[in-house]
């Protein structure tokens, strides 16, 4: 897996704040879903993003897709700000694959129409060419031509996810944002879809942002892994570093929970004492301190700074 170091996608200090209503007459409170996130995605690489439910992974994906405006910070594609771009420009280059293939395909549309929609919206080619391209991409994702006239409810979860992949790839985007693309699928088809995604990446020279709450999924795919907690990046490193030498106590805890009997249930909190904090009232100092086994006094009051240790970047007082 080779990739250059030119960033195709860059996030600089992204913040996203939701104002959450506290009920009638009680006003609103800010929820910092993303708190100062900076990431680079290089051409041809697979960047894994891992973290518990609610840490802001999908919010990040939506911002990258242009579906949501960040509260502050900027998104750059090929060094150009996303702000000036129209949604149509963005969608040529960035496409999503969502988690739940039961919700991502319109039940009233035929598979052929679902897959050809991007071509029609962007006015690429005539109907005959649409059909040709759809059949071509169906073959690429391993679906027979005869599904063209089927409806989503006639297909299994794995088949649906293949349709969703075909739709995302038909316009040959550069960047594909996979938001937990396998966690809604049967265990038996998960690896099929993962292998398919990896094969397609090589064939079409794609760049992936791969979101998962399961470190073990990311281990085999990613060139780089980002561990997120409560809207912040707590550790960023190549997967071998993450697995062999996790630095951040949260990464360690995540690793400890990889071998759970039931994947897809989120991260069990067996080795994390307290439960996931309320994002509207995040803990002071290091946001992880109420659950951290190695918490020190300073952790309660001061937020840690980002440290570079060899090939890892860590945000933790242990390394200061």
């Amino acid at each position: 897996m080779t990739h250059s170091d030119t960033p195709v996608l860059e996030l600089n200090g992204i913040k996203k704040t939701f104002m959450i209503s506290q009920g009638l007459m009680k006003g609103t409170k800010p929820l910092y879903a993303l708190n100062d996130i900076s990431v680079q995605l290089n051409k041809g690489e697979v960047l894994g993003i891992v973290g518990e439910s609610g840490c802001g992974k999908s919010t990040l994906a939506k911002i990258l897709l242009g579906l949501m405006e960040p509260t502050s910070g900027e998104v750059l594609i090929d060094g150009q700000s996303l702000k000036g771009h129209k949604q149509l420009d963005i969608s040529r280059r960035v496409q999503p694959i969502f988690q739940d293939p039961y919700s991502s395909l319109n039940p009233r549309k035929r598979i052929g129409d679902i897959i050809s929609l991007p071509l029609r919206v962007h006015g690429i080619g005539d109907p005959a060419e649409h059909e040709r391209k759809v059949i071509e991409i169906l073959d690429l994702v391993g679906l027979p031509k005869r599904v063209l006239n089927n409806y989503p409810n006639q297909m299994s979860g794995g088949q649906r996810q293949r349709v969703a992949i075909a739709r995302a790839l038909i316009m040959k985007p550069e960047i594909v944002i996979c938001d937990e693309p396998t966690s809604a699928l049967d265990v038996s088809v998960q690896s099929q879809i993962l292998n398919l995604l990896m094969d397609l990446k090589d064939e079409l020279q794609l760049t992936y942002l791969f979101i998962s709450h399961d470190l073990s999924v990311v281990e085999h795919l990613a060139d780089r892994v980002i561990v997120m907690y409560l809207g912040r990046i707590c550790e960023q490193a190549p997967p071998d570093r993450i697995f062999d030498e996790p630095r951040h106590p949260y990464t360690e805890a995540l690793l400890g929970s990889v071998l759970t009997p039931e994947p897809g249930q989120g991260v069990p909190d067996t080795n994390l004492g307290a439960s996931y904090p309320n994002p509207i009232n995040p803990p002071s100092g290091c946001r992880f301190h109420p659950r951290c086994a190695k918490a020190m006094d300073i952790c309660k009051s001061n937020a840690p700074m980002l440290q570079q240790i060899n090939r890892s970047k860590v945000e933790c007082h242990l390394y200061e």
Partner: protein, 299 residues
């Protein structure tokens, strides 16, 4: 990386949604019954000029209050008898179907357009738009339909068009409420986000991703509101404030027959029964549509 993952086994796909729908429609007896009755009434209305044995407006005082054929003194000349002006009751009933259906369809077209637009906008955009629409719905619900309709008709006078407009502008609330909540549900589906990520315009998303998925609810509300409008018109006409004579609305026929309630009860029973059957079959059909398109049978 092997190539095995590139092909799936040749599986059989399940039946298509159309086939499933067809099967459940054919298995739903009350839906078929209601639908059949409506088809008959619509046909009768459309073919009234052909089917009606007499001119519905032709008066002949010498034969007034001829009873229907199954009573003493009835004749096949006037199968359902004649009214207080000697007009053929069957002919008036057939033409009356036209009036009732026109009012039902016209009112639902107006109220459905208003309510669906408001509801879909509220459900899709949320936030302030939703607040405004909710306010409008509340305002509308605070106005008693019958009183407002009576007042407007009393001011502007009753006529077919005014009755349709008044009912159309008063009965949109249920459309708005139901379309709002269905749109909210569908809006959260990933396929809407996927369409946004593809670059679809909002209008396109509403028309091709949202509408087809809330159409079943729209049909159910439309049938119920159509029955509602027809009944309200009958009520207004009964009070003398709906469609004006000599138009043969079924409600008006009941009103005109009410003076003879004790002497010639069939004058009321015939149009009353026609109204009852129409409303019942519209409701049967609405319930049936709801049953066969309920999500349980889907994906």
């Amino acid at each position: 990386m092997t190539d095995v993952t590139h092909s799936i086994e040749e599986e059989d796909f399940g039946p298509s949604p159309r086939e499933i729908l067809k099967k459940s429609i054919l298995a739903h007896r009350s839906l078929l019954l209601g639908f059949g009755a409506i088809v008959i009434i619509v046909l009768a209305a459309l073919l009234a000029p052909v089917l009606a044995p007499h001119d519905p407006y032709l008066q002949d005082l010498s034969i007034r209050f001829t009873p229907p054929v199954w009573q003493d003194g009835g004749s096949w000349e006037h199968i359902l008898g004649t009214d207080h002006l000697g007009r053929d009751y069957l002919s008036r009933l057939l033409y009356g179907a036209r009036i009732s259906l026109t009012i039902g369809i016209g009112a639902v077209l107006i109220s459905g357009t208003i309510g669906t637009t408001l509801g879909v906008c509220a459900g899709y955009f949320g936030g302030r738009v939703d607040m405004v629409v909710n306010y409008l719905i509340t305002v509308r619900l605070s106005m008693p339909v019958v009183l407002v309709a009576l007042a407007i008709v009393a001011i502007f006078g009753g006529s077919l068009n005014i009755v349709i407009m008044v009912l159309g502008f008063l009965l949109w609330d249920r459309f708005a409420v139901v379309m709002r909540s269905s749109t909210m549900q569908v809006r959260n589906m990933d396929y809407v986000q996927s369409a946004q990520a593809v670059g679809c315009s909002t209008l396109r998303i509403v028309l091709t991703e949202i509408m087809p998925n809330i159409m079943n609810n729209l049909i159910v509300v439309a049938t119920l509101e159509m029955a509602h409008a027809i009944l309200l018109e009958a009520g207004l006409s009964f009070l003398g404030l709906g469609v004006q004579p000599p138009l043969p609305s079924w409600g008006l026929m009941v009103a005109e027959g009410k003076e003879m309630l004790f002497f010639e009860p069939w004058l009321i029973m015939i149009p009353g029964a026609a109204l009852f059957i129409l409303i019942l079959s519209i409701n049967l059909m609405g319930d049936g549509v709801r049953d066969v398109t309920a999500p349980a049978g889907k994906n």
